[in-house]
Amino acid sequence: MRDDFSSFTGYDIARAIKNGDCSSEEICSFYLSRIKNIDSVLHSFVEVYHEPVGENGESSLSGVPIAIKDNICIEGRKITCASKILSSHISVYDATVIRKLKSAGLKIIGTTNMDEFAFGSSTENSCYGPTHNPWNTDCVPGGSSGGSAAAVAARLVPFALGSDTGGSIRQPASFCGVVGFKPTYGRVSRFGLVAFGSSLDQIGPITTNFVDCAHLLNIICGIDPYDSTSSRRPVPDFTRSLVPEIRGLKIGLPREYFGEGLDREVEGVLKEALMVFEKMGAEVYDVSLPHTEYAVAAYYIIAPSEASSNLQRFDGIKYGLRVASDDLLSLYKKTRDEGFGRESKRRIFLGTYSLSSGYYDAYYLRALKVRTLIKKDFDEVFKKVDVLFTPTSPVAAFKIGERIEDPLSMYLSDVYTISANLAGVCAVSFPCGFTKNGLPVGGQLIGRPFGEEDIIRAGFSFQTETDHHKRMPPLSLVTEEQKDKSWL
C-alpha cells in the first residue's frame, strides 16, 4: 500500500484500486488532504466536496477523483461561474458529462476557480480572487480554466474538466505544465455547460498525460439528444491511439504562428520539442494559414456577441442575485451592474454593440464571413498534413496584475489558440519544456475535425521520449500559519 499517489496517473490509480492495493476512499482522502494543505496558497478550488460526489460505476477510471470547472452543472450543488450574479445558485440537473462521469464511477471532489463566465485568459477575473500558478505563485495559472489546470499541476487531483471557447483549456494547461485537450466541436455534449459562445464552446479534459486524456475522452465524448449540436460521428476508442509510432506522420508548421510576437525563449523550447518528433520519424512541412492575423479580431466580435445573448438570462428573476427595485428595468440594470465583473461587462458591451442595428453587418456578419475564410485555411492545410504543431501561447505565465488593466493585450495573447475554436477543429496543449526561470512551456498540436486520434498518438509518442510531463512544481506542505488564512 502506497502513501503518496501524487506521481501516479489517474489510470495507475484506477488499476491500483482494481488490484485491491487501495480503495477509492483512501485515494479521495489522500487528495482531500493535499487540497487542505496546499490549496490555501493556490486558491484553485471554489468548493471542495469532503464527501465526494459519485456513483458505483464501472470503467477504466472507476474510483478515481476528478475536479470540475465551476461552470458545469452538478445536480444539487452550487454552481457559480466565479460570478456574484450566480453565487447562490444550485444546479437543477447534472450536465451530460457529469452523468457520464458518474456512470463511469469517477468521484467528483470539488469545483475549480475560473475567470467569471469563462471570460479571460488568467483566472484573475474571478469574484473569488485569482488562482496562483503552482510553479510560481506570483504568476497567473492562465485562464479561464486556471483552477483546473493549477489543481492538476499541483497534484491536488489526478485530472479535471475544463471548458475551451478561445483557448481556455489549452492556455492554462500550457502555463501550468499539464495536458489540456479541446475536442472537435460537437464531440462532447454542451448540455449543462453554462454557455459562453455556443458555436465555440467545448468541454475537455485537463490531465498530466495522454493516457488519462484518452481514457477520459472515451468517457465524455458522444452524441447527446439534449445537445443538438453534438455530433453523430461515432466515437472511436481513443486508447487505441496510445502507441508510440509516428513514422510518416505529416506535421505542418504554420509560418504565421512562428513569427513576430512569439517569445524567443518559448520558440527555443518548441524547436527542441520539434526535434523529438523528427527523431521519431515524423515529417515536418512548412505550411500557411493565411488568415491567422484576422482570427483574434473575428473572435472578439463573434464570442462577445454570442456571450451577450447567452448572458441575457441573468436578470435577477430566475437565478441568484437580485437587487430589489421598484420597476423591472431598474431591477435588471442594478442586478446586472452589481452582479457582473468588469470583464463580463466589457464583453457584453462589445457583443451588444456588434449586434446592434447599424453595426450588425459591419461587425458580426463580416466576422462570420472571416470565420469561413479561417475555416477554409484549415481545410486546405489538412489536405497536405495530418497535424499542425504550434506554440500554445506567445509567452509563458505572466505575473498576476501584469495584463489585467489592458484587455486588448490579454486578448492578443490568445492568437494561437483562437483559430481552432473558430474552425471547430481539435487541439491539445502539452508540456514541451521550461523557461530558464522554471515556468512551463506548452506546445500545441492541432488536428483536423474529428482527428483526435492523430494528435493523441503524436502527443503520447512525445511523452514516451520526454519527461517534462512528469516534473512537479516544487510545492511543499504549507505551514500551519498559512493554513489559517484559508479563504474557503
Binding site: Y294, I317, L329
Partner: protein, 94 residues
C-alpha cells in the same frame, strides 16, 4: 467613434446600469478594442458565405412527445422571490 453617448446606449440595450465614472473608464478600452477589430475591413468578403457555427448537423429534430419534468420546484427555489409557483417581480402594468 466610441463616445459617452454610444457607451450609454449600449449599456441600456444590455440592461446593465453604468455610472459616469465607469463610462469614462470604458471609453478608451472599448475604443482600442473596436479599432483593432476594424482590421477585418481590410478583407474582401463580398463572395464569402458566413459560418455561423462549427457544427455540421442541421435541423436536429425529436419526436413531439411530452417527457415528464419534475424540475419546477427546484427551479423556483433558485429564484430570489417567488410565490404560489410563480417568479415574483415588480409590477409591470399600471
Amino acid at each position: 467613434m466610441v463616445d459617452k453617448k454610444t457607451v450609454k446606449y449600449v449599456a441600456n440595450l444590455a440592461r446593465i446600469g453604468i455610472s459616469d465614472e465607469e463610462v469614462e473608464y470604458l471609453i478608451p478600452q472599448l475604443s482600442r478594442i473596436i479599432s483593432y477589430i476594424d482590421k477585418l475591413k481590410e478583407l474582401d468578403v463580398s463572395d464569402v458565405e458566413p459560418t455561423r457555427g462549427a457544427t455540421r448537423e442541421e435541423n436536429v429534430l425529436r419526436e413531439d412527445r411530452v417527457a415528464g419534468s419534475s424540475y419546477r420546484d427546484k427551479i423556483l427555489n433558485n429564484s430570489p422571490l417567488r410565490e404560489d409557483g410563480y417568479f415574483k417581480i415588480p409590477r409591470v402594468i399600471e
